[in-house]
Symmetry: C2
Amino acid sequence: MYVLNNAAPAETGLPGLRHSTLAGSSDGLNRLSLWQQTIGAGAATPPHRHDCEEVVMVRSGRGELHIRGEVHRFGPETTLVIPPGVDHQIINSGGEPLELTAAFSTSPVEVVLPDGTPLPLPWRS
Amino acid sequence: MYVLNNAAPAETGLPGLRHSTLAGSSDGLNRLSLWQQTIGAGAATPPHRHDCEEVVMVRSGRGELHIRGEVHRFGPETTLVIPPGVDHQIINSGGEPLELTAAFSTSPVEVVLPDGTPLPLPWRS
């Protein structure tokens, strides 16, 4: 399958977070995963980290990247670079949905909480 | 730098192809590159291949992926998965600009023509 039809973003069980996996290990990929997410106004990802490189493309909305004790504000037409193994959190600090596309340098992607606990993902990766 | 401001897409010297690198090796990445491209109506990439995984997200427009002697048509809300080492060509077959975001599993990305000739890239990768 070379052409995939994008799945509609769906509720995840994580508050305010909608998700669709655009491409991942079940599409034959080992070194790339692409996710599309919407974080609702006032919502946030949990603080977490991955053992891979991550790039987040901001499609619309405004937010904050909390990383290494710093707060980095971002808006549309920006791209976030998140190094491997570094705890981070993305917060919607605007009044509109925050629309993101995230790329990871592995597939499947593992998510680990700051205390080292793996976070089982409620979506395919 | 965790937050990058997206560069405006610029002419590349390749006919009909505008490009901006969203993130790559100069942003500290080794295993991810993200490119944003616009292929004008009637234009196409040259046939080429990469020694890495590639995922292309179609933001708008319609086109054809030519790969392994097959033609795969695609439109908006689709995602293309291109395996490493396989020659491919993306053609804008619609009347509107074809807007793409491409993710690669390495950085910098190398482009090779079907006869094995490396294609020097006119953009940072």
